[in-house]
Each structure stands twice: as structure tokens, then as C-alpha cells.
């Protein structure tokens, strides 16, 4: 596609449920990033994938968060046993490679945990 796409655009779930958020990067982009933005806060880095290398998970806030990237393209961010503090907008970005390349953002998924 022309840009980064994410689904769903909005997700409301109950505390304790698992959720999966999907990201389709720009075709040909080898680097993919997940960020989250809580209300009134800046963007917080979660995880990034570069090609077939092991992902950098240093930003994941707890072991309830995991992500995978299949075939070097689509990525899924999974949050298990959701908590109210997980409520945020989850943004995915992709870039041609990494480091000095511009990151292009998807529209985000707004997650609300009741």
C-alpha cells in the first residue's frame, strides 16, 4: 500500500483480556517500530524489527507485551491480560532501513481498557 496501515483503528476491551494490534508497513521497508502514546504524554518506544535480525525489545514495559513480525512484513503487537494503564494510542512506523532513515507512521490504534 501507499502508507503504513494499522488495524483496528479503535479497540475497547475489558481488563484482563488479551488484544492483538496489527501493522502493515510500507512495501519494501525493512525496519518496523512500535510506539505508544498515553494521554498527554510523548511517544514511547516499545520495540523495533530490522530485517531478519532479532528484535530490540528494550522498550517493552512488561512481559505482558510481545510482538512478532512474519515474513519480514506484517507485525502484530500482543498485550496479554490488559490493564487500564495499557490504554493509549499504539503507533507503528516503518523505514527503509534504520538509524538515519525517516520513519513513516501509521494512523494508530486507540486502545481503551475498561
Amino acid at each position: 500500500g501507499a502508507g503504513v496501515s494499522q488495524s483496528p483503528s479503535n479497540k475497547v476491551t475489558e481488563k484482563g483480556k488479551d488484544v492483538e494490534l496489527r501493522c502493515d508497513p510500507i512495501s519494501g521497508h525493512t525496519a518496523l517500530y512500535w510506539y505508544r502514546q498515553s494521554l498527554g504524554q510523548g511517544l514511547e518506544f516499545l520495540i523495533y524489527f530490522q530485517g531478519n535480525s532479532a528484535p530490540d525489545k528494550s522498550g517493552l514495559p512488561s512481559d505482558r507485551f510481545s510482538a512478532e513480525r512474519t515474513g519480514g512484513s506484517v507485525s502484530t503487537l500482543t498485550i496479554q491480560r490488559t490493564q487500564q494503564e495499557d490504554s493509549a494510542v499504539y503507533l507503528c512506523a516503518s523505514s527503509l532501513a534504520m538509524v538515519t532513515d525517516t520513519q513513516y507512521f501509521g494512523p494508530g490504534t486507540r486502545l481503551t481498557v475498561l
Binding site: 510523548g42 518506544f45 523495533y48 503507533l91 507512521f105
Partner: protein, 110 residues
């Protein structure tokens, strides 16, 4: 620890005014600094700066980087109501991820 500080946090101006947004940073193995505009959800790319002292321009927007003093500025001249947004500064470090500041919320009144 990597750190990005943007100032001011918010700014209210009238159409036609010129504004300067500031970003200071401390990032391990700094590679580049990006500016984004965020109106609703997704930040949209404005500039990438990698070299000191070279101004980048796009219409009424311009930006410059000082790698010695570790800061960047974003200028907007002849502001319009459509410039109202949160402007995010994001230096990139050795890991490839961007470290975002909290942003400057710009409101342009007619």
C-alpha cells in the same frame, strides 16, 4: 539516559506571527534528528537533520541543527490556523529508534 526537552510546551499566537520551537537533546551515539507534526493520531514527517548549520526549508517552515550545543529549532513564519498542531522533536540514537520529546502544542488564532 537519553533525554529530549522541547520548549515551550505550549504556545498561542495569531495568524501571521512567526514562531520558534526549541529542542535540546542528549542522545547516545546521535545519528539524526527528525521533526514531526501531529494533528490527530499519526505524526507526519517534516524534516530530517543530520548535519550542523545546514538549514532545511519547506515553504514557511525551516529547521536547523547544532550538534555541538545539542539543540535544534523549528521556525514557522506567517503562521496560519492550519499550523495548529503538536510539533514533535525526535533525535535518533544508535539503536535506530527515535526518542521523542513531549512536543510543543501550537495554537494559531485567526
Amino acid at each position: 539516559e537519553d533525554k529530549v526537552v522541547q520548549s515551550p510546551l505550549s504556545l498561542v499566537v495569531h495568524e501571521g506571527d512567526t514562531v520558534t520551537l526549541n529542542c535540546s537533546y542528549e542522545v547516545t551515539n546521535f545519528r539524526s534528528l527528525l521533526w514531526y507534526k501531529q494533528e490527530k493520531k499519526a505524526p507526519t514527517f517534516l524534516f530530517m537533520l543530520t548535519s550542523s548549520g545546514i538549514e532545511k526549508k519547506s515553504g514557511r517552515l525551516s529547521s536547523i541543527l547544532d550538534k555541538k550545543e545539542l539543540f535544534s529549532i523549528l521556525n514557522i513564519t506567517a503562521t496560519q490556523t492550519g499550523d495548529s498542531a503538536v510539533y514533535l522533536c525526535a533525535p535518533g540514537g544508535s539503536q535506530g529508534n527515535l526518542i521523542f520529546g513531549k512536543g510543543t502544542k501550537l495554537s494559531v488564532k485567526p
